[in-house]
Symmetry: C2
Subunit: 321 residues, 2 copies
Amino acid sequence: MNTAQAQLGAVLSAGGPSLARLLERTEARLAEVAETHGAALGVLAAGTLAAGGKRLRPVLVFLCGDGEDDRLVAAGTAVELLHMATLVHDDVLDAAELRRGRPTVFAAACSPAATATGDLLFSRAFAELAATGSEDAVRALSTASSALAHGELMQRADAWNENVPPERYLERCRLKTASLFEASCRLGALFRGRPDLAPALGQFGERLGVAFQMLDDVLDVSGPAERTGKPRGADLLDGTVTLPLILARRQDPTLPGEVTTPQQAEAVCERIAATGALDDARGQALAHVTAAKQALDGLQLSQQRTNALQLVADGVVERYA
Amino acid sequence: MNTAQAQLGAVLSAGGPSLARLLERTEARLAEVAETHGAALGVLAAGTLAAGGKRLRPVLVFLCGDGEDDRLVAAGTAVELLHMATLVHDDVLDAAELRRGRPTVFAAACSPAATATGDLLFSRAFAELAATGSEDAVRALSTASSALAHGELMQRADAWNENVPPERYLERCRLKTASLFEASCRLGALFRGRPDLAPALGQFGERLGVAFQMLDDVLDVSGPAERTGKPRGADLLDGTVTLPLILARRQDPTLPGEVTTPQQAEAVCERIAATGALDDARGQALAHVTAAKQALDGLQLSQQRTNALQLVADGVVERYA
């Protein structure tokens, strides 16, 4: 068992049988959605589904929620579908050929089908949530999905820009990743009938999401490729300016802003690591994890729930340790 | 004044000052949405907005609705945003370079920005509608947006297939075009507080939408390019098998299934026209317009409303006359 699996195991025991059952129902629902939408989508979405992942966003919904209400399953399914939609569209955007070591929808079926598949997953996310009858829930999801798209546009606008300030980088992390973490936690709060908890739990999710993205960006530079399923320096190759590069440039202003081959990317990754920027970025990410945990203080969740959420936060760090 | 403008004028007079005011508020809201979503999107969405169009879907919402409730404006804005999102994504799918005679978002900003812009428009559509607090409304929109994506996938799956049966072609029209017409009419019924009218008004919208798509496909073959803003035979060039081609093949089985140059496309268009398939397809479309009008019978709408909706139906035909 690797560290990530051990961590997930710990979260599952902390969450108890209720969490495991909710996750199982979510898997079943996701499979159902994939199956009921035509042969073409079946294959494509099944591919995305099978690639799996940790279902981190549904876990946040369930741990911020309470009980085993159908609406929690709908919310968990919705956030995962929206996440999958963005993965499929990101693959169009990045023309990435591998994700989690498998060929992506883009590579498997070329861009038009990927765009439409993403749109369908997107639509189904809203359909799942609309079925709960909660206006606040639909609003939380649409706020998040706007933010995701907004973040993606911002990232495109910043591509190859050597002068992106760290604050702007952080705002991008908030939009393109943390917004859905935040929405997941808010949905949990809403469906436990405790909308008063939504701001604090949302804050937990948001800080955690920012840390998640920051650590992901560190990993893109640190590698190794066997671990990430994609070559080192993919962000450099597609012009995405991340915190390690921003910080490294302060120490090593001659760092090239453009690389065109995997070999060049590898070499620039080494130079970034040599400046100490990876440790610095990792340290900043950990501060966000700490802030996330602090957001749980004083919420009077059960000790078991607080433990489970803290374990999820630790898991985000572990994943990149 | 051309025929289409005259027709719109007739609809506006039949709809009365209330319709004109609702449309004005929708324009203002669309401009607001475009402006409040970042400089990058501002330009792209403004481009899509400025390309204009007839706001046919909002008109359906308003004519199937009643009064001047804010929720009608939200619904009109939502269906237009969803329509715009699909236009932007269609341009990615088709790599079209012109739409309504203007460069498309795709051509203007390349595919990644177009995908993200479409996603943002999509998200805002749901956000607008979520703000109404109506679960049924959100469900109607998500059903339509799933159908649109589904239709797009079906069209891709059918590309270059010489054996698409007419029934399958019709189902594609229903999914990729009529579903949003139907949703627009249903939203109007919901927000006039008459959900009992939703099935019949939805049926009106659906039949009209099928006719709209069929006539659009006829126009792609008949031209002229000055009228459509795109070269004749664009569907042939991107492999979209439409009713005129399906019908023409019955008369002229040697019609080539693949064309690669605009000159070849032009020549195949001539051959399709020579078989009489355009008149046949047009006749089938008109039967759907008649069915749409029949769906209004017995609804006991005001005479003014019935007239206005019939004028919209006639306008769809006029547009392609």
